[in-house]
């Protein structure tokens, strides 16, 4: 039994917007794998729930004519993991989606829920950061597009305005074209876990085998997922190789700000962040064809 005050299932995006206008404090529920757990605690008792889970129009992945990849917000992790377009064009996202929880969670959990939940450890979030994803939101004022970096306001808080729901995650063409990535989830066990730290890297090499662009994003290195900008700048133009990976990692750990908690010490997280940066860029460069 769950402790909610009211429950309404939206019949369409417009209907969801209308329901949210009626109940401004309602909790939006997609797969429920986060919301229903939170409802066991005092913090989320006696809430109004608006379920958008039935909105099939928000499911599926589409390659747009301009080359952008549009992922409906209700697309499940297992769908993303096995989707042909994702595996062909952004396999790093398939890799990330495949590390969420266990098989049952990947079937019910959605990329929209993962990003709207606002937690730093979300497995697909860091990859969306590293791919400069655009979040599409639909509300009574119309449709809004927000770069994912701006979407995360603080821990547990994202930029969803009253009456809005997230309707898509868009990966722009320039963001993935000729890019090769690698996602690493560092957790205490190999399944059914949240990341102690996670790291998504992607790289584009030029014709000479030098790094044209490298991007890295972490989860759990700060209160929200974050990019390590100076690491990306430090290796720009460098030849692909071990040196680049180490310079990249040395810079990356200066960009991040993990905290000490009972789950892991700051020193440990920094060490692992360095290790993941080295390994992430090395593997990405290998996938891009470099011999390392």
């Amino acid at each position: 039994m769950f402790d909610f005050r009211s429950y309404a299932a939206a019949a369409s995006v417009e209907d969801a917007v209308r329901l949210l206008a009626e109940k401004p404090n309602a909790v939006i529920m997609a797969g429920g794998s986060d919301v229903l757990i939170k409802m066991r605690s005092r913090d989320m008792s006696q809430v109004d729930v608006v379920s958008i889970y039935g909105l099939d129009e928000l499911r599926g992945i589409r390659l747009e004519p301009n080359g952008d990849i549009r992922i409906g917000s209700l697309t499940s992790f297992s769908h993303i993991e096995h989707d042909e377009t994702v595996n062909r064009l952004i396999p790093v996202l398939s890799q990330a989606a495949g590390t969420v929880g266990g098989p049952q969670i990947r079937n019910i959990g959605t990329i929209g829920g993962n990003t709207c939940n606002g937690v730093t450890s979300a497995d697909t979030a860091s990859t969306c950061f590293a791919l400069d994803a655009i979040i599409e939101l639909t509300g009574s004022e119309g449709v809004r597009h927000v770069p994912i970096v701006g979407f995360y306001l603080r821990a547990g808080k994202v930029d969803i305005r009253p009456t809005e729901i997230q309707t898509a995650v868009i990966i722009p063409r320039d963001s993935y074209e000729n890019c090769f990535g690698h996602y690493q989830k560092y957790a205490m066990r190999n399944a059914m876990d949240i990341a102690t730290l996670n790291c998504s890297v992607n790289v584009r090499l030029n014709a000479d085998g030098a790094i044209e662009r490298a991007r890295i994003a972490y989860g759990v290195a700060g209160p929200v997922p974050m990019r390590a900008g100076s690491a990306e700048a430090a290796v720009c133009g460098m030849p692909a190789g071990e040196d680049a990976a180490h310079i990249f990692a040395d810079a990356a750990i200066r960009d991040i700000n993990p905290r000490d908690s009972w789950r892991a010490s700051k020193a440990f997280r920094i060490h692992i962040a360095h290790e993941l940066a080295v390994r992430g860029l090395t593997e990405s460069m290998r996938r891009a064809g470099a011999t390392i």
Binding site: M1, D3, R40, Y186, M188, N190, A191, W262, H271
Partner: protein
């Protein structure tokens, strides 16, 4: 013969199709719901409780505070009752308490029409506490001036026992001895059975009927009656199928509270279905035991004198008490006998959750210390760990002076040799000890000692009933309980052979209902197959005697030449089948000359005991800079006597190995040092290992028939969980040269240890 064959579990089809009924399946939907109000302070006193707001919540039926219940202390340990007051368990629990001793202690209870109303009411109860300082560490709790939990136990010491062999002080004066002094620490872990604790209670004709997910229905009946101060016969406990127990349900948990509330509400049906979070904090946990071992060893590896100190963290109440640490300590001078030994075990109250029985009962803790210590000593002596083990191992013929247990065979060496061969231990251990680079492999080994059953410390008996049906089949009832381990199937196999009827003609009555089930003390101490075997054989002989005597009446053949084989009455002289048992049984019930209901029932008192032996070998790959251990291969080898059902035995071993993997690498309850609260009371933050953290698990057996058992069998319930953690730890030592003396060996601990050992250079960050 069915014993020794891998017949399918008798409950397999119902379990995989979801038809099997557990406690909640048996409970009608209109049961009132009980939720327990938990202390938010680790040590203190409840001064007052304001329930007015909570009472106003729609659906709330009644709220009980710690001030409402009778002050009648009762014991909870699932031990057989002792008629000698000196040997009775400590009675220190109340239905609810106004003197909470850990975060999660029971200070009130809400009864409501549904779960949500109960939860809302719990949040609205206002509690005023007087808070006391608290202590979480056993050795800290022993210090003078530490917060005292129970007035009757100075320095919080619940129990202290010692072993003295030879003369330690004299022996260590020998010249040329090398001294080793090491500490080994084990964590508080939880059983994590898939079915949380649950019980229901209702009254019927003035008696209280409790249905509970318990391993020990007859003990639960006794404790409920003691807690409510009512005649024991006024309580009936029903134990249906249960979703695992691992010792947690070898305690009486909330059956008394549930029964009490039922009675106070006039006998209506009430249900207490504990959430996972509370199962973690407020049922039972494994004792965290810190071991200190000092060894004086000759350069050739001979142990001359050894000392062991164990500090066992009991948590807030006595539960199983000192027995757990004492059992662990008992292994020390026996596994590697030494002429001069001093052991002291202390069981100490702290403000942690209550420790009770958990699979292995002190032996996993002891084996982590003892078997890690062997590899540490061997490394420093420049010997191979296997040579040091074999030099000092319990010899053939070793007899325990107290239990009279005997090491009849060379089981230890046979198990070690089998495991070593499987994993190619000698070659790999040598090769892996000289590695460089970031990715390194290692192999490790650990043996274990385990004592089957309980005799001569407490009562050991088993009762069995067999009832013959018209079709020649029987109902088989025992006091021993099926808790997922496959006991029913093993019993059916034994009964089939002992009576002389086909396996499918044995109908095991799985449920124990204390009104009709034979008396038995339940599932614990890896004893049921051993003790149940005696009662099954004895009762089968009685039943056969009655059947053959009736066959004599019908066939006029002397009993001496009759036999019952595979459901037929056989004349042994010419092997002719004279009639089927079905014909005999039908005649016996409906005969107009001599109608008789053929049944047999008996109790066998067991006054023997058996050692169970074995070992584990593990191979790991350590990624040093990632601080990660990957298990590549793992084998347990057991001598548990003759196997009753090899496939079930293998499954039992796999389950134990899985538990050992978590124990060694990932599981621990964590406590907030500021509040004493459990930080990770859920299956996300408590890192139970998953199948993806396991290699393929291999179970090996050395089948030396146990001479004292009718079926040649001995313990296999708990032993599989005992040697895994030190084997993995020793493999990490082989790979990296780093001794990890605290489990779990998780990445956080490896990071610190590798930094200290210079294997990792920490990055300077401003």
């Amino acid at each position: 013969m069915n014993v020794g064959k891998s017949v399918p579990r008798v409950d397999a089809y119902d379990k995989v199709t979801g038809r099997t009924q557990y406690t909640d399946d048996l409970c009608p939907g209109d049961a009132l719901v009980i939720r327990v109000l938990r202390s938010t302070v680790a040590n203190g006193r409840v001064l007052s409780m304001d329930i007015s707001k909570a009472q106003a919540v729609p659906g709330v039926v009644r709220i009980f505070t710690c001030f409402d219940v009778p002050k009648l202390a009762f014991p909870t340990a699932g031990h057989p009752w002792s008629t000698d007051p000196a040997h009775q368990d400590v009675a220190d629990r109340f239905l609810l308490t106004d003197r909470p001793r850990f975060c999660g202690d029971d200070i009130g209870a809400v009864v409501a029409e549904n779960e949500v109303a109960a939860m809302q009411a719990l949040r609205l109860i206002e509690v005023e506490y007087e808070e006391y300082p608290f202590v979480l560490d056993a050795q800290e709790a022993m210090k003078d001036g530490a917060p005292l939990l129970h007035e009757e136990f100075p320095n919080n010491v619940l129990g202290h026992s010692s072993i003295r062999i030879g003369n330690y002080e004299e022996a260590i004066k020998e010249e040329g001895l090398i001294r080793f002094d090491d500490w080994y620490d084990t964590p508080t872990v939880q059983h994590c059975h898939i079915e949380n604790f649950i019980c229901t209670a209702r009254m019927e004709n003035g008696r209280i009927v409790v249905t509970s997910s318990t391993q020990i229905p007859h003990i639960a009946r006794r404790v409920v009656a003691q807690a409510l101060s009512i005649p024991w016969g006024d309580v009936r406990v029903i134990k249906p199928y249960i979703g695992g127990g691992f010792g947690n349900k070898q305690d009486v948990l909330y059956e008394p509270l549930c029964a009490y509330i039922c009675r106070e509400l006039g006998g209506v049906l009430v249900k207490l279905d504990m959430p996972r979070e509370e199962t973690f904090t407020s049922t039972r946990v494994r004792h965290a035991i810190r071991n200190h071992i000092i060894s004086y060893v000759r350069p050739d590896g001979t142990f001359v004198a050894r000392k062991l100190e164990c500090f066992s963290n009991q948590g807030a109440y006595a539960s199983h008490g000192h027995g757990v640490a004492a059992k662990g300590m008992g292994a020390f001078p026996q596994l590697y006998p030494c002429p001069n030994v001093e052991c002291d075990a202390y069981t100490v109250f702290t403000n942690r959750p209550v420790a009770g029985a958990m699979r292995g009962y002190g032996i996993p803790q002891a084996m982590f210390a003892v078997e890690s210590n062997i590899d540490d000593i061997a490394l420093r002596l420049g010997m191979t760990p296997m040579a040091l083990r074999k030099k000092n191992l319990m010899p053939v013929g070793y007899t325990d002076g107290f239990s009279r247990n005997v090491n009849y065979y060379d089981s230890f060496n046979q198990c070690l040799d089998k495991g070593a061969e499987y994993i190619d231990y000698y070659r790999k251990h040598e090769e892996y000890s000289r590695q460089e680079g970031n990715i390194r492999r290692g192999v490790g080994c650990a043996a274990f000692w385990y004592n089957t059953a309980v005799w001569p410390i407490s009562l050991e008996s088993s009762s069995c009933r067999m009832v013959l049906n018209q079709d020649g089949s029987i109902q088989l009832q025992l006091g021993e309980t099926e808790i997922g381990q496959g006991a029913d199937t093993a019993f059916a196999q034994m009964a089939s052979d002992a009576v002389g009827i086909p396996l499918e003609r044995v109908h095991v009555v799985s449920c124990q209902d204390t009104d009709v089930a034979p008396f038995g003390t339940g599932a614990y101490a890896s004893r049921q197959t051993y003790v149940g075997g005696f009662a099954i054989k004895q009762t089968a002989d009685i039943l056969r005697g009655k059947i053959l005597s009736y066959a004599h009446e019908l066939t006029r053949m002397p009993v001496e030449i009759l036999d019952l084989v595979d459901g037929n009455i056989i004349r042994r002289t010419d092997n002719q089948a004279l009639m089927t048992l079905a014909e005999l049984a039908t005649t016996a019930l409906y005969s107009l000359d001599h109608s008789v209901h053929i049944t047999a029932e008996s109790t066998y008192q067991v006054k023997s005991n058996a050692y169970s032996f074995g070992c584990c070998f593990a191979e790991v790959e350590v990624d040093i800079s990632a601080c990660k251990v990957r298990l590549i291969d793992m084998i347990n080898v057991h001598d548990c006597g003759s196997l009753i059902n090899p496939q079930l035995a293998g499954a039992q071993v796999h389950g134990g190995m899985s538990m050992a993997i978590g124990y060694g690498l990932s599981e621990q309850l964590q406590f907030d040092p500021k509040t004493g609260r459990v930080l990770n009371d859920n299956l996300l933050d408590y890192k139970l290992s998953t199948t993806l953290d396991h290699p393929d698990l291999t179970a090996g057996f050395v089948e030396n028939p146990e001479p004292t058992s009718v079926f040649g069998t001995k313990a296999l319930g708990e032993p599989p969980a005992c040697p895994g953690a030190p084997a993995i730890r020793n493999a990490i030592l082989n790979a990296t040269g780093v001794s990890m003396n605290t489990i779990p060996v998780n990445p956080h601990r490896l990071f610190e240890a590798f930094c200290k050992a210079g294997l990792i250079n920490t990055k300077e960050v401003n």
